[in-house]
Symmetry: C2
Subunit: 141 residues, 2 copies
Amino acid sequence: MHRPEHLKNAGLKSTLPRLKVLDLFENGKERHLSAEDVYKQLLGSGEDVGLATVYRVLTQFERAGLLVRHHFEGGKSVFELNKGEHHDHILCLQCGHVEEFHDKAIEARQEKVAGELGFAIRDHSLQLYADCTRKKCPHKP
Amino acid sequence: MHRPEHLKNAGLKSTLPRLKVLDLFENGKERHLSAEDVYKQLLGSGEDVGLATVYRVLTQFERAGLLVRHHFEGGKSVFELNKGEHHDHILCLQCGHVEEFHDKAIEARQEKVAGELGFAIRDHSLQLYADCTRKKCPHKP
DNA sequence: TTGCAAATAAGAACGATTATCATTTGCATA
DNA sequence: TATGCAAATGATAATCGTTCTTATTTGCAA
Ligand SMILES: [Mn+2]
Ligand SMILES: [Mn+2]
Ligand SMILES: [Zn+2]
Ligand SMILES: [Zn+2]
């Protein structure tokens, strides 16, 4: 999917740490990763990156539009590949599972409400914290 | 409005720092305050409280249901008096002004979306980051 | 190849928050 | 009203996620 050229196009040198981080997001198991997640996974696969580099690269990728940053509860930033289209999240309070959704009606109402109050929305953040009932949930009720 | 009895009812001793903090939320200018806001305002009015106490009291009030905590962008928790009814927020990116709103349609759609995905919502967080056009905005375009 | 700006790794520094602990205080009881 | 003591406080250390600093390394254009 992504290749060294993509970094170039984003105005970023194609360096080993950057390629490794990008690869994690493209080919890794989980879609939503914190800086610590990325750092530990890289260490785990024998890669030798510094934590500071991980933070720097994540921020650069965000600025370049390759990644999107979220502020879920828990105090740490979470990143994911930028799919181009906006979506919101449901987070399972038991197992941590993250589900994505997009609801046109919600998005439209947000615009309406803001407009009526004299605001022009630039960005928004919506998270639903919930209990899931999916089969694989390790905390199934 | 609130009195020492309210603290008692919440299982909290009526102490000076607690009364001062509560008073700030009830009679202060601003409705949404961070721990630092509370601390500085108390210092400013000659009260001698420790920052650690402010943090402790805010958390206790939250647990007791007197305050509600929000995680707006910016990294610090923001608290407000618990009005009993849920609402969401619009935050002006220029002047920091915070507006409250409640939209039944949005709330209903959230339930619907979650239900269809096999989730039962326990809590949610919605913030609109926007540019405001109110008269008093010090950064009016 | 070489040169050099850009990127890195390690660790210090940072801001928000929590933990520790000796001292003080609210308040129930005598 | 005086006393006892658990609970609360305030100073400060510690923690956690993140950013900054700086000496060293690296990508890459010439
Ligand atoms: Mn997502
Ligand atoms: Mn509010
Ligand atoms: Zn949305
Ligand atoms: Zn809501």
